[in-house]
Subunit: 421 residues, 2 copies
């Protein structure tokens, strides 16, 4: 599919992340005003909350854009999503005769403050990159036990903490936690010393499913409203001590940062690609009948305080062994219902080369091979005031689909509210 | 503290679970009417939603009992909870001169339909019984690795699935999942063959905490609104194959059943007891300065289809090594915020004897010693149409505090929506 031209000129530049083909969903405010739902187009944001109020958009027999979150739209399901996209394309396409009608609802992107685009119902994090699982497994359990025996059969995942999902730009505080080195007799309670990022994508569930009723893979694919960039900040030392036998808990509880824009599944349709070859056959409930992965280029940029930004990893969402649809189908297999706003982290996206690893744990190989940032600066793990930015883009025929930066700065640990050790 | 007499005579019987000392919080309807918040007293329910509307109760500058959930009241914090309790005691105590005013807001308990008492923000399940952890660890990992090295230092927990928490009386469907025996070459997808209950209590968080701001143990204790009975249904075969390395996922996703009544922390104050002796000193952030455990007698009843109910386990909430306050303080230690309606499962409550084990896995020792139910009936794990009922009570001076039955029936696995194997 080629670029769809818009009367908003900036949207037609081949490297603009928000062409008419994209129309990602966010929540914004301008000049201290109220939070509204908005859609990015070129260098502007279209205020769809105000448009619904003015009856230029109608998706249901009640307002669904009146709250500063996209959940109500998501819950309407794919037909309504398609209708909204069709309406917006009609308003914004080149030669539309609605230009003067729409103009008052546009705001400069540069002056907008962005918020969480949706209310996260629940957050689940998966582990879908074979390269990442192998790297981490090698460091935590040795080369011979690197990939768990279930990994090629199950899209392994665990429930995370929805309340700590934050939007790009939110500061992250270095967590306190129980730390115990292999030589220590007992744990101590101290600020994390091995704090890390994880480069992920997040799938946002739109259509709910029913209690006791698993969904098929095709149904799961259709339930997904869109995708965000996702940084699952991780405390490696807390994790190493706590994670047996019930999995990561406080090591993943500090924050998870997402991009301000949800790129809809419709916008990503042209970028579907086949899954990697299966090393062992998947069970029938996980077998895909068509391409359910996406070709999305990803990068991580690290900026030390006062230093220059440096891209430290480049990889691609298509590297994953399991698609979000497979993860979602598996998620419902035991009968637990999904809700509008459930967020599924893909798992860290790591490629085959050192330069394509999606975490510092892997890039510095557990701290043994510090990563050179130039100018005499290196990193094994994050230092206070480091800024981490994830970017993602899909390259179309004369256009680019972007998510906006997914960025967060690590601030020092807070003064402890607890009694001293 | 002795019984507080009420003008509702049934509330004064020593074995009535709902004396004036209790006043537990639920959501109910009568005769197909709307769902309202209610408080149990004797053999009646007091409709506090209707009382707030009639301005007999006012807790904030806006309605907080107008939705069929207690979350808005919880979020007001301990001063409002105390105020509500004080008001209700004034209305319902013996010799109150408000009897004729209150009478219209009372409904027979027997005619009420009960619903989820609150909207579960997020659900976390802990692992706080040393006996349970030792039993399960012995079966899953052998006697020498039974208790993980971190267990005596960390209140081990993992994030569960809030969307599958259901109220007592809701049917539970035997889940499908990946099963793989130790001798099998590959997993198969089939209905769970080792489905189990877990006897737990749940702590309901009332007061929220802030992003990036851990709370002290004393603050955590004060944040807890009340307690429910909780059955964390578990698929042992799914769990055995899936849980490494990131913990239980679909094995715990089918359903978690809670009692219809939240017993408030205030009602349980007289039943506080000290923690068991610590085998190794806890880190300062987890050290309690007073009694934070509770003396609550617990039992599990199993009823086969068409058979007689049989109590198969009797234990006590005080058996746990970690209190809910310790679990909550730990839960915030890495900075993730808590919200009104967060539910913290205690972990299976098992005592020292076989008769006090809180799951079939332990009662039948992994199926090796089937549990005799009499009349030639035995169980290793649950069979279709078995009903499991949890009960809890605290015995006061001439009165009893109850939670209502926490009950669920296991229904057969549904016909598969997936392609055949």
């Amino acid at each position: 599919m080629p670029l769809m031209p818009s009367w908003i000129e900036a949207a037609n530049a081949p490297d603009c992340p928000f062409p008419l083909n994209n129309l990602p969903c966010g929540v914004f405010s301008v000049a201290g005003g109220p939070r509204h739902c908005g859609v990015a187009i070129g260098d502007r944001i279209l205020d769809v909350t105000a448009m619904e109020k003015a009856e230029l958009i109608s998706l249901a027999d009640r307002p669904v854009l009146d709250k500063p979150e996209w959940n109500a739209v998501m819950a309407l399901g794919p037909a309504a999503w398609e209708r909204l996209r069709h309406l917006l394309i009609g308003f914004l396409r080149a030669k539309s005769d609605l230009q003067t009608t729409i103009e008052p609802y546009l705001h400069p992107l540069a002056s907008a403050e962005m918020y969480m685009p949706f209310s996260v119902a629940e957050y689940t994090d998966f582990y879908a990159s074979k390269q990442h699982a192998t790297n981490v497994g090698t460091m935590f359990r040795g080369k011979d036990n690197a990939l768990p025996p279930n990994w090629l059969h199950i899209p392994i995942g665990y429930n995370g903490r929805a309340s700590s999902v934050v939007v790009s730009g939110t500061d992250v505080f270095r967590p306190w936690g129980q730390l115990k080195g292999p030589q220590d007799d007992a744990p101590r309670f101290a600020p994390c010393e091995r704090f890390d990022f994880e480069l992920e994508m997040g799938a946002v569930v739109g259509t709910p499913s029913r209690y006791g009723r698993p969904v098929t893979l095709a149904e799961a694919d259709a339930m997904i409203f869109g995708y965000v960039l996702l940084n699952d900040w991780s405390a490696r030392d807390i994790q190493a001590w706590e994670y047996q036998p019930l999995g990561p808990f406080q090591s993943k509880a500090t924050a998870t940062t997402i991009s301000p824009w949800i790129v809809t599944r419709a916008a990503l349709e042209p970028f579907r690609v086949d899954a990697p070859e299966r090393e062992v056959p998947l069970l029938p409930y996980l077998q895909d009948s068509g391409p359910m992965h996406y070709n999305i280029e990803l990068e991580v940029e690290l900026t030390p305080q006062g230093g220059a930004p440096k891209v430290i990893s480049r990889t691609n969402f298509r590297e994953l062994y399991y698609s979000a649809a497979q993860q979602l189908a598996h998620h419902t297999s035991a009968g637990g219902p999904m809700r509008a706003g459930d967020l599924l982290g893909s798992g860290t996206v790591s490629g085959d080369t050192r330069e394509s690893r999606g975490s510092l744990l892997e890039l510095s190989w557990g701290g043994k091979e510090p990563l050179d940032l130039g100018s005499g600066v290196s990193r094994s793990f994050l230092q206070d005031n480091d800024r981490v930015t994830l970017r993602g883009l899909a390259r179309g025929d004369g256009y680019t689909i972007g998510f906006g930066d997914c960025s967060g700065t690590l601030r020092p640990a807070i003064a402890p509210p607890w009694p001293a050790a």
